[in-house]
Every structure is written in C-alpha cells, then in structure tokens.
C-alpha cells in the first residue's frame, strides 16, 4: 500500500470529553495504559504498508507533537515519505484559514503537502474512532472497483448515537445511496467510521471546488450531496473488527476497561499488528508485597502495594499500602497514597490522592480529575 498516503484529521469537536480534552486533542488522549489514540491510527496505516502519514492539527496540539516527535517509533522518518505534522498557520494569501470549520478547510490549508506527496491514493481518517485495522483488503477491493470513493462503515450497534455521527444506506451491491449526518434518531444501521479512500487527484478537485463553494465538511457538504444527486459512485466497505467511538467520558472509559477482556485485548493488539508508541524507558511494573491485582492492566514503571480491581494503570503509577482502586483509569505518574479508596474515577496525568481519601463515582458518570490535581 505504499501508493496510499494517510491523512489524519485531529481537529474534531471534543467538548463532550469534559476536562480530559481541556489539555489535549482527542488524538492525543492516553488509552490502554501506555498508548495515545493516534498510535492506533498511525500503526494501522504503517502495518498496512503505508509510508507517508500527515497529521492535521488544530487545537492543543503541543502534546500531540511532543508524542509524535520525528515519527521514529512508527518507522515514519524516511527521506521522502514519513510523518508530516501539519499545524494550522496563518499567511497572507487565502490558502489558509487558520481556524478550521471542518475537514475541507483543513485539507485546503494543506493542499501543498497533498500535491507534493508522491502517492496516487489517499486514505483520510478522523481521530474520534479508534481501531487496529489492516487496510490492505479494502484497498485491493477499491482498486478492483470503478468507485470514486470508498467509505468504511460498521454495523456494530454500540456505534449508533442519537444526534451524532453519520449513517449510511448501503445497497445490495455495496453502493452508498444515502447519508444521514447527526440525525435525531439514525435510520440506517451502518455507522460511518469516517475513513475515506480515494484517488488523491479526486480529493484535490473536491477540496478546491468545495472550498470555492464555501463548503466545510467533506462528508456532510460534498459526499452527501453527490450521493443524493447520483453524482460520484461511493462504495461502502464493511469493517467487521472492533472499533470504538470516544465521544463521551463513559465511552472512553468503556474502551479502556474492555481491554481487560483477554479476547478483546488480543483483537486490539494482534501479534502481527503491534501498536507502536513513544517509549519511556522505565523499569517493569513492580508488584510489591501487598499487591492484590485483579483483572487489571499495569504499565511499566508502576509500583503496586495495594488492591487494584478492574482498572487500567498507566506508566509510573504508585498505589500505596491498603489503597484500593476499582473501575478506575489512572494516567501516567498518578499517586494513590495508603488507604485511599477510588471507584469509577478517571485520573488525568500526575494526580495525587492523599492517604485515606474516599471518592466514588458511578459507572454512568465517572468522576474526572484534572491533570496535576492534588486531592486531600
């Protein structure tokens, strides 16, 4: 698939993740104990044989840039291809719009990068939906077809939402006949995964025509109209593996805790498609004298001397003696002192819980603690 370039759009609306996205884009959200959302997307592309990946950034992109660095961890630091970080910029001519209203604005600002890249095809994704995918089968089918665009969708009912997302009507030949965007109640069972595959030349045409007509969204403004007018031929590709949409704190929590199920974990982390991430060079996790770890993931650098139940602990977390955490996500370098009790909580990075503190959230409304907070 070296003839396909990847473009990851990270500028989507993310206010539904409460304080978690205050300090970072969704693409930079820490997940599964040691990764960021973008690791899954970039690793899927690299493991499918793609060599050129552009990441369009919009807000709070410092943590994302810091994480991606030179792209070395994803083997994306080649001479011609590799990882390209595309932050918003302002300049005098009108090619750039600074604040993007949607994907068309973002792509329009980065037409130079698209044009310069040598690949004939482009695979476009957002960063709200996470998966570990192999794109090669889809690409082969797209090439063998006469479709203009291929769109990925899933029939997983957990991906359906009221008032949110895009839903597709796919006919018996796999051709998309209708698109609903943010319907009050979705009519169609096929949820768009916001993954688009097409020739780069077509994308450039759509972006320049779309921009000239003041369109902002590739799907909602351009593809939707074209499908309804019997314009372009848009084919669907049913994705049958696992995927999660991180569109609420509860869903973010579910994705992380689902990884504790060995079957789900082995699907998300298959041996032949590892998820690459930035390495932190820490000692292995230390399970101490009083460690009582039940159905939990503990990342390297952690020191556990209490009870950890159905929880995901990121790198460098310390659990004191007699402390008990249950159904919790504890991000990097969190400290839970002796005797504290936490249930249904999400601790952002560097949260310090003093000895003896008791905090209990509910499954449907986990309590989120801001990065760096200290709870007495």
């Amino acid at each position: 698939m070296k003839d396909v370039m990847g473009v990851i759009y990270t500028g989507e609306k993310d206010d539904f993740l409460r304080s978690l996205t205050k300090v970072r884009a969704i693409a930079a959200m820490p997940v599964c104990g040691r990764y960021r959302v973008i690791d899954f997307l970039a690793s899927s592309m690299v493991n499918s044989g793609m060599r050129n990946v552009g990441v369009i950034m919009q807000k709070n992109y410092q943590s994302l840039m810091d994480h991606l660095g030179s792209g070395k961890e994803w083997d994306l630091h080649g001479k011609n291809d590799g990882l390209f970080i595309l932050p918003p910029f302002l300049n005098v001519d009108d090619e750039n719009t600074g604040v993007y209203k949607g994907s068309i604005d973002a792509l329009h600002s980065n037409m130079g990068y698209l044009r310069r890249s040598r690949q004939e095809y482009v695979l476009l994704t957002n960063s709200l939906i996470v998966y570990n995918a192999n794109f090669t089968d889809a690409f082969a089918r797209f090439r063998a077809s006469d479709a203009d665009i291929m769109m990925f969708y899933t029939r997983n009912p957990a991906m359906q939402r009221d008032n949110y997302g895009a839903y597709l009507d796919v006919d018996a030949d796999g051709i998309i006949r209708d698109v609903e965007v943010d319907p009050v109640k979705p009519k169609y069972k096929n949820t768009s995964m916001d993954i688009f595959l097409m020739k780069k030349s077509l994308l450039l045409e759509l972006v320049s025509a779309g921009s000239a007509h003041r369109y902002h969204e590739l799907l909602g403004d351009i593809i939707l109209r074209s499908v309804r007018d019997n314009g372009m031929k848009v084919m669907g590709y049913e994705y049958t593996d696992l995927c999660y949409r991180l569109d609420s704190v509860e869903n973010y929590m579910k994705f992380n805790l689902d990884c504790l199920d060995p079957q789900i974990r082995h699907q998300l982390f298959p041996e032949d498609r590892p998820v690459y991430t930035k390495v932190r060079d820490q000692l292995a996790a230390r399970y101490m004298e009083n460690a009582n770890v039940i159905n939990s993931m503990i990342a390297d650098g952690s020191m556990i001397n209490g009870t950890v139940e159905h929880s995901v602990l990121f790198r460098g977390v310390k659990i004191g003696k007699g402390a008990h955490v249950k159904n919790c996500i504890i991000m990097q370098d969190g400290v839970i002192e002796d005797g504290a009790y936490l249930e249904n909580c999400i601790l952002d990075k560097n949260v310090f819980i003093k000895a003896g503190v008791r905090i209990i959230g509910t499954k449907y409304y986990p309590i989120c603690f801001d990065k760096g907070s200290m709870i007495k």
């Binding site: 991430t277 060079d281 000692l283 101490m288 503990i298």
Partner: protein
C-alpha cells in the same frame, strides 16, 4: 575525516560466555536478556550515552546475529548519529588473509583504522559482562588530571574472593605498582572491572608492538597491561564504589536479576538522570486476571498472569496460565508456563514453553535452566542445576 571526538568507546562483545551454558548456545553473552526489560549490553551502552560518549564500536565475533539485530541503528540509546554513533565491528578480511580476533587486544588492533578516523585522544575499553551504572566521563576526567597513560577502574572485593580477580596493587595517588591476575596471596583487594581508559597514542604503540610479538596471546590483562607496567608508564587505578555485578555464570545472572526485586534497589534503575535504555517491543501493559496473583515481582508489558507469580522477573510477552506457579525465577521474553506447572529457582530462556504440570527447579540447590525455544512436554521434570536444551 570525521569530526574530532575526545573519547571513543570500544566494547568487547565477542566472547562466548561459555560459563552461561545453554543460555549462550545461540547468542553472545551481551545479548542475554536481563532485568525484565534489558539486555546486558544495554548497561554499557546506556552508560556511554549518559556519560556523553557518542562513538561506540561493538566488537562482535561469537554468534553475532541476535546482537546485531538488537543494536540495529542504535536509536534506543540515542546512538543513531550522523557523526558518530554505534558501529558493529566484526572481524574482516584484508588482502588475501583474514583472521578472527585472537584476543581482546587483537580485536582493538584490527580496528585501528576505525579508531583513527575520529582523531581521538582517548579510548575507553569496555566489556559486556557486567551490570553497573558508571559515569565514564568522571573516570576520563581523572585520567586527564593524572596525565595518565592508562586508567583502570577498580572496585574493592571481599578479601576472601580477591584471588578470583585481576588485582591492582597501588601506591601513592592510586598509581598502579603491580598487577596480579588471580593471585594466590593477594596484597590488595582492588579488583579490575575490565574498564580501561588509554591515551590513544600510547595504546596504539603497545598494540602495534604486541601484534608483532608471535609469543603474545594478544590480551589486555596478560600482555598489554603488564608490558606497560614493565615500561613504567603512568598507570592509575580509578575507584568505583557503586553496584557492580558480574553476570558471567548462571548463578550470578540469576542473583543479579533477584537483586532488582530488593527495595531500595541495590542498583537504582528508577533514577531518571541515568536511565538504562533498551529496545522496546511496544506491547500492551502487564495483565493479571481474576484468580491470578503476583507479588514481589517485576512484570513487564505483554505479560499475562492467570496463575501465581512470586519473587520473579517476567520479560515481555510471558504468559503464566491458570494454576501455574512461578517462584524465585527469571522468565525471558515470550515464554509460556502452562496450566499447573511449577517453576522454582529457574531461568527460562526466550520463547520456551513449560508443559502443563511440569516441575522445573527445586526450592534449594542450583538454578535450573530451560533453553531458548525449548518446548517441555506436559509432566516434565527439570531438576535443580539441570540445563535442558531439547
């Protein structure tokens, strides 16, 4: 001509390490996994990076494949540089002849041209046999201040054990008067750590003379150091006081691993200012299932524990199945301990499978070893001190 480098490190990684038995049947000793996330060579390589030494020649000879693959471009140690970095240096052919490295000094001698291209003033000689954190730059500073021709890192060992080491007898200012290899009646307990700094001009002269001497065994300890002492060159000992452990035998490799389970750690690997770097496979965090238990252990990414793990070290991708017990053991990357098997005081090498109900090792006695990629059938017994290769 490359940029000038003040000091070039040469790491002797060619030895077989035959005292490690079946563990080094297929890999050179420096490539042996250590401490849950590392390989032995990570320690000298990370020490170099942390000391600001950014040219490292790694001299390989015995079974170099795993080591070469592991070192790769050197990026885990920040040694993938445009000017300098890590170089793997196997023996090579010249004209019609070519030869293996006949000794430690010969290995350096055959790479004179490699060292010369950096226009270096000093050469640091290292081995891949020890676990330690050391600031080579502080040692280099002492070498320069002493206007030394050679500085040898030493550490005090218990007097009772001194006769097992190369012992330095020193006088005023730590100047070395005499070197005795494994003396029966040691006069000092300062043992050589096998870490040397030489002023390059001097070392080149002695290496060249040594190469011309057909009677020489081309060894630093047997030839170069004694020859320099005979000529009354300025040779100094450099005292090192931190943790330093030889991992040249099965027992010492096991002990050094077990040392990491002590708190506070005898060698502080939590020190952010002196990290030990290594290649990382990028697997999901360690997982302990309901009904599983892990205490007093170091368990790294990709491990899945359904059974019991106590006072052990689990490398990446190890699975301990339901009802299995792992006690006082070291499980190297990718091994599996099947249902109901018991592993005690053992080292299980990479990708080995311990069949269900097997018993490996005993509560006392020597360490049991199961070799690389060995699959033990269900119900196998491996006794204390036994090494099972097939």
């Amino acid at each position: 001509m490359m940029n000038k480098k003040q000091c070039v490190a040469m790491l002797l990684a060619g030895g077989q390490g035959s005292r490690l038995g079946i563990l080094t049947a297929d890999v050179a000793k420096p490539a042996i996994p250590f401490g849950g996330k590392y390989r032995i060579i990570d320690f000298p390589l990370s020490n170099c990076t942390n000391s600001g030494i950014d040219v490292v020649g790694v001299l390989t000879q015995y079974r170099p494949l795993a080591l070469n693959a592991y070192i790769g471009s050197g990026s885990p140690w920040d040694l993938d540089l445009a000017h300098g970095g890590v170089y793997v240096l196997p023996p090579y052919q010249t004209g019609k002849s070519g030869e293996w490295y006949s000794g430690t000094a010969n290995a350096i001698y055959q790479n004179l041209q490699f060292i010369e291209q950096f226009d270096t003033d000093y050469v640091l000689i290292l081995s891949g046999d020890h676990i330690y954190k050391m600031d080579y730059n502080a040692m280099l500073k002492a070498h320069i201040e002493n206007e030394a021709d050679c500085t040898i890192a030493v550490r005090e060992v218990p007097w009772a054990e001194a006769s097992r080491f190369g012992i330095m007898n020193t006088g005023e200012g730590n100047r070395i008067d005499e070197f005795e290899e494994k003396p029966a009646n040691p006069k000092s307990n300062k043992a050589s750590m096998g870490v040397y700094i030489f002023t390059w001009d001097k070392l080149r002269k002695y290496l060249t003379e040594d190469a011309a001497d057909p009677a020489s065994s081309n060894d630093f300890g047997k030839n170069i150091i004694p020859n320099m002492l005979n000529d009354n060159q300025r040779m100094f000992a450099y005292d090192f006081e931190g943790y330093w452990k030889d991992v040249g035998t099965i027992e010492s490799l096991w002990e050094a691993n077990m040392d990491l389970l002590e708190l506070p750690m005898p060698i502080d690997l939590y020190d952010k200012k002196w990290r030990i770097y290594g290649r990382n496979p990028g697997l999901a965090p360690s997982f302990v299932a309901e009904g599983g238990k892990a205490i007093n252990s170091l368990i790294t990414e990709g491990c899945e524990v359904y059974g019991n793990v106590e006072h052990s070290i689990l490398f990446a991708g190890v699975t301990v199945e339901e009802g299995a017990k792992v006690i006082d053991s070291v499980l190297m990357p990718g091994c599996t301990v099947k249902r109901g098997a018991v592993v005690r005081r053992a080292i299980i090498a990479e990708k080995a499978v311990i069949g269900s109900g097997s018993e490996v090792g005993e509560t006392t006695g020597n360490i049991a070893v199961v070799g690389d990629r060995v699959t033990l059938p269900a119900g196998s017994v491996v006794k204390a001190g036994e090494q099972r290769a097939e």
